[in-house]
Amino acid sequence: MTRLLRAESRKLWTIWSSYVIFLIVVLIDLLFGFLVAFAPGGRHRGTAGLVPHGSTQWFVNVFSVLDNSRLLALVLGVLVITGEYRHKTVTPTFLAEPRRGRVVTAKLGVSFGAGLLLGVVTMLTGLVIGFVLVAVGVHSCLSLAGVSQGMSQATCAGQGVLHHYYVANTHDMWHEWSQIAPGVILGTGLFAVYGLGLGALLKNQIVAIVVGLGFTLVVESIIVAVWPTIGKYLPGQAATALENAARTSFSASSTPLLSWWEGAIILVIYGVVLSYLGTVTTLRSDIT
């Protein structure tokens, strides 16, 4: 199994599309992070209107968009298995390891690892955004813009020296970041496993990506809105539960969520059950 894991990892890191996914994740994180931070009238998860720069809620809102990375993790997981069928590399793969279930298991492990790494990259990007926001907050404090956004010069002055403000703001940012990071990283990793399961079952790359993204972005939102008691068991909500596990300052969610460990277990079940079904159905079929 060690050989298979190493081979699968080599497969992943010898094609450019894997690196492109990481690049897209960084770009999307930067784009959405700053958009939420500075877009006038931007709203996110029930918080309407402008949020004062430098406030805890500001960081909460900005870090909350980082979970979009799990959509790319899903795509990564789908690619890990459907790419083999698309380029017919599945033939040499199954010639070298005819026990197909073992190949899928190795892919499961490698997808999870790559997904975790994607989560780590996401959170590091988030940290960069966080430090920029702290700097902006300090700047706002010194300017009239800060006043117009709810911070009075007196508030700033009340912090004593500017340095003090900076330290406090950094502490808020760091606190918020460290509360969300584990959930986002684990959720991203498990979403890659979920993607692998989808790919194993559906085999066709385009179909698997469309189904995966379409379900997460559209179908799941509808189900969550209509039947929240069922919706909380769906992958996206399970990942949100995981992400919000340790967040004390986050209370905007109006829909019921599972506890973080329930969310994690649900996601593992999705990935493993779909992969298993794929292995005993789709992958058992003839390679012609």
């Binding site: 081979a7 080599r10 010898t14 033939t91 040499p92 010639l95 390891e97 005819p98 026990r99 012609t288």
Partner: protein, 385 residues
Amino acid sequence: MPTIQARGLTKRFGADVLAVDHLDFDAIPGGVTGFLGPNGAGKTTTLRMVLGLVTPTSGTVLVDGLRYRDLPHPTNRVGASLEASGFHPARTARNHLKIIATMAGLPFSRVEECLDLVGLSEVGDRKVGGFSLGMRQRLELARSLLGKPDILVLDEPANGLDPQGIAWLRDFLRFYATEKAPSAGDGRIVIVSSHLLSEAQLIVDDVIVLNAGRLAAQGRLSDLLAGTKRSVRVRTPDADRLVQALRAANLPAVMQDGYVVCEGVTPEQVGPVMVENRIEVHEMESSTESLESLFFSLTGGESAQPGPTAPMGDYRRFNDGPAAPSAPPPAVVSAAPSPAAGPATDGSAAGSATAGPAAGSAAAGSEAPPAPSPAAGPRPGGGQT
């Protein structure tokens, strides 16, 4: 000693297509085995069943007495290349081989050896997407050889290779099959499927011929050919006298294109007659049937499967229809081929009447009257049997 054994091997695709039908065969080590058959005969399906990629509907095929999927180290036992595909276009050749080497637990030095052998080490770091068909074939061969397997299964390995490449492959396969490796004893099993019969005749020692999913023949090529028609051709100024002398000796003899031709006899039978009658000989040639004619006699020159494997149409009448009915230049109309005109005339007339031969064929395909019945014309090669 390596073995491949198929017993009652059957594969059905859906309800209608019986691709392989109760096939029994044994691969023979120490020589190159040609796996031959017309399109749709079930060659590729059979090879894929040997390699565990396709599950038989019934029957078994065992490699070293085991199903392929039960082999503990398949890469070290069997090397297989099925088609010049199965590469990620964005991955380099070297990485492609390293992945398989990693799966099989082989050192990367083996990757370099195999790249060297097929002459790809210089381009090993280039992406396979930019490779020609011939380079992909070499890469496939390199991948098959990674584990120094005692069984080599190659589907159309000569496809896309240049003449030097084909000659090299021929020599290599002969060497590889007969090499007395410690693990192989009497030599290795090398199975090569091919549709180029003249090429295959140069490479193979044994043949397994499939037709419509069934075994049509199996054995030493030389044995199979020995059982078929042979003939002797003689060129002599005394042709008439020789024919009479041969007939007097109860040997069949006819005049053909200025040669005296004796079907079904050996030179040993013709020679004494010529000496006895003191007949001057300018040329004498003995021929056995070629693999190609053997192949046609075994497979009936056609496949039992309908559709794309039905006999092809009569090309001599292909361009008879109006190639460009809209506004053909008068000069060409007057020069239009009569039904009796030869194929060369047809081709040139159609070529000059339209923008180009391609346009002519396309128009003929869509607007010409229905193609002549396949049965109307002789099949390619059919006249030789």
